[in-house]
């Protein structure tokens, strides 16, 4: 795979949109800038060279013509006045050199040949050990050797400030690219934060719909979505209230009718079914109510008596629920919600393990964990996450009698969120499940 392809696929790109956009803008601008700089540089180089060669040609032509015409004894006086910055004349054969084969040498030789209009043969040699130094050897019409010593200056001296300007420009590009990226990514981050904080049951502040058109549009769309969700929730509440009322009345009738009927096996079965129906309706209502807080206020409770009272209520109905590791002190929480969470844990432990142990610990940092432990079959590790989902049942084949409504843990999780805690399930060493709620 080519680098470009992997780049496009994002393997070599940083993960955040912000850095990706920044990188693409910066690299793109730098390449474009570098290209235009190179083109300008090349163009300038070509014209400067043409100019230099033109000057060389005319100067050399004039000088060689002068040397050729004046008497041999006066030539020495003119070598210096006729020399220029990048060439000088030497009367004589000059230094020995090697045949120059460089393009540049050929260009210069060609220029000089043109200058003297091919009247005098010319031989171009490079001086070994000295880069950039060339000597053109020729013989004047009287046979006297003449050497033109050429040290071409750098055609285009770069100004010393040019690198600084270049760095400054790159910096400017960088800053502007970052600003542009921020323009685009900042509203996106705000939108994400708003979506995270979205709680349709509360009337939080709407997302500000100012800013660039696209951003304003997205914000308006988000606010509209939020309102729609709130509306759906409200409708769901109304439907649930209606169902709970409209179902409970016929169920009450059914129950009364069954109870007043003659005592037959059919009646017992009917009562059992009615009981199941009741439980499903109740759990369903409880689940949907818990989904956006239960409206309970926080209050300060004595932890030891709270835990003990729950366990004693179980013990008083001959259920094997024990307390270990009670701690003293108070905690501020929603007691009814917490009681329901723990009752759900304990009910599960009793159902699957036959007995429950409640352990309370205070962690460093003041957090309190209450764990309900059992020695039942536990939950396969890969299903623990799913166990929190509504209507989850461990074994699809399991009898409805022990399966329950499948809402207990889901209710617990939502209530835990309502009191600002956390819930965790894990399998114990030696078998059994631990259900843990952490509150602060």
């Amino acid at each position: 795979m080519t680098v470009a392809a992997s780049f496009i696929r994002g393997r070599m790109l940083p993960s955040s949109l912000r850095s990706r956009m920044f990188l693409i803008l910066l690299v793109g601008l730098a390449i474009a800038y570098g290209l235009s700089f190179s083109v300008l540089y090349a163009e300038r180089y070509i014209s400067a060279k043409a100019m230099m060669l033109g000057t060389l040609q005319s100067d050399v032509a004039a000088s060689v013509a002068v040397f050729d015409r004046i008497p041999a004894d006066q030539r020495a006086n003119l070598t210096d006045p006729l020399s220029r910055g990048n060439f000088r004349f030497i009367l004589g054969p000059g230094q020995p050199g090697v045949v120059d084969t460089s393009v540049r040498g050929a260009e210069i030789a060609d220029t000089i040949s043109k200058a003297i209009e091919h009247r005098l043969p010319i031989r171009m040699e490079a001086i070994p050990g000295e880069a950039q130094r060339l000597q053109a050897h020729l013989a004047l019409t009287d046979g006297t050797p003449l050497t033109i010593d050429i040290t071409p200056r750098s055609i285009m001296p770069l100004a010393v400030w040019l690198p600084y300007v270049f760095v400054l420009q790159m910096l400017l590009i960088g800053i502007l690219a970052w600003l542009a990226v921020r323009q685009a990514s900042h509203p996106l981050a705000a939108l994400a934060a708003a979506a995270d904080a979205l709680d349709p049951s509360k009337n939080g502040p709407a997302l500000s719909d100012t800013g660039p058109t696209e951003v304003a549009h997205a914000a308006r769309a988000f606010n509209a979505m939020r309102d729609r969700i709130a509306q759906y929730l409200e409708e769901r509440e109304q439907i649930l209230a209606a169902i709970s009322h409209d179902l409970q009345t016929p169920i009450t009738r059914m129950r009364l009718r069954a109870e007043l009927a003659d005592d037959t096996p059919e009646r017992a079965k009917l009562l059992h079914d009615i009981g199941e129906l009741e439980r499903l309706v109740q759990d369903g209502i409880a689940y949907f109510r818990s989904s956006h807080g239960n409206g309970e206020k926080f209050s300060r409770i004595d932890l030891a008596s709270f835990i003990e009272s729950i366990c004693y209520d179980y013990q008083d109905t001959v259920k094997a629920v024990s307390v270990s590791g009670t701690i003293t002190g108070t905690v501020t929480t929603k007691p009814l919600a917490l009681r329901r969470i723990l009752s759900n844990f304990i009910d599960n432990a009793l159902k699957f393990g036959g007995a429950a142990e409640v352990r309370v610990e205070r962690k460093q940092g003041g957090e309190i964990t209450i764990t309900v432990l059992d020695r039942g079959p536990g939950i396969p590790d890969d299903q623990i996450e799913a166990a929190m989902q509504p209507f989850f049942r461990l074994e699809p084949s399991r009898n409805r009698e022990t399966g329950g409504s499948g809402l207990g843990l889901a209710i617990s999780q939502q209530l835990t969120a309502a009191l600002g805690g956390a819930i965790r399930l894990y399998n114990r060493d030696g078998g059994g499940l631990a259900a843990e709620v952490t509150i602060r």
Partner: protein
């Protein structure tokens, strides 16, 4: 001739009304029915009842409104048992705050309703004269403690909630309802029996010691619940009734 308790059932569903009244009659009570607030008012003008079973969810004036109305009128001493379709704990509290003596969520078992009716009647009859007016929704203060009879919680002097198990709450209620009266173990057991038909296998002595622990009472020198040798226990602190503070 023995007095037969007269129960008035107020429910908008005619079948439920009739079945409940039939069941209560079969179990030796006198029962009448009313379909709504209008019927209820008319019935109370001409009849004396011992207890009202009141449905919360009714068209027109709902049960909460009627409950408040009864509590404000000349039948304010009549015990009220609320029936409601709601199952949430918060609704139970709301119902009790309106002045109901007890609460039963729909759907209910007929046996459960009968047990609760009897329990409410027994409790209101056994109240000492100063508690003849129902104290539901009231705060009962004794010593450093306050008992919220609606939320069924005990508050210490700092306002911290001390949770009580169902049996502990019922025992404390029995003591508070009979202050400075010696109660023997049989009476306590009888009065503390759960209305939820729980199996009550704890001995009264164990329950008393738990309750003392909750109240911070030293078993050797108890302040609140004193032991009367070979007789039983006595709640030796005066109790005050106050309105619930918001």
């Amino acid at each position: 001739m023995d007095h037969v308790d007269h129960i008035l059932i107020v429910d908008d569903d005619s079948e439920i009304r009739e079945m409940v009244s039939g069941y209560l009659k079969k179990n030796g009570l006198r029962a009448s029915v009313a379909a709504d607030g209008r019927h209820l008012r008319r019935f109370l003008e001409t009849n004396a009842v011992d207890l009202i079973v009141l449905d919360v969810m009714m068209p027109g004036d709902d049960g909460l409104v009627l409950c408040r109305e009864i509590r404000a009128g000349k039948h304010k001493a009549t015990p009220i048992l609320m029936l409601t379709a709601r199952t949430d704990e918060m609704d139970r509290i709301l119902g009790l705050e309106m002045g109901a003596d007890d609460y039963l969520p729909k759907p209910f078992a007929a046996r459960e309703l009968l047990a609760r009716i009897k329990s409410v009647l027994r409790r209101t009859r056994m109240l000492p004269p100063n508690f003849q007016v129902t104290d539901a929704g009231k705060i009962l203060s004794f010593g450093e403690w306050r008992l919220d009879t609606v939320a069924r919680i005990l508050l210490d002097k700092d306002g911290t909630t001390i949770a009580l198990s169902g049996a502990e709450f019922r025992l404390l209620r029995v003591f508070i309802d009979h202050p400075q009266r010696i109660l023997n173990r049989d009476q306590l057991l009888n009065l503390t029996q759960s209305r939820d038909a729980e199996i009550f296998d704890r001995s009264i002595d164990l329950l008393v010691s738990r309750l003392r622990q909750r109240l911070g009472d030293d078993a050797r020198e108890p302040i609140y619940i004193k032991t009367v040798r070979s007789e039983g226990y006595v709640f030796s602190v005066p109790v005050e009734v106050s309105e619930p503070h918001q």
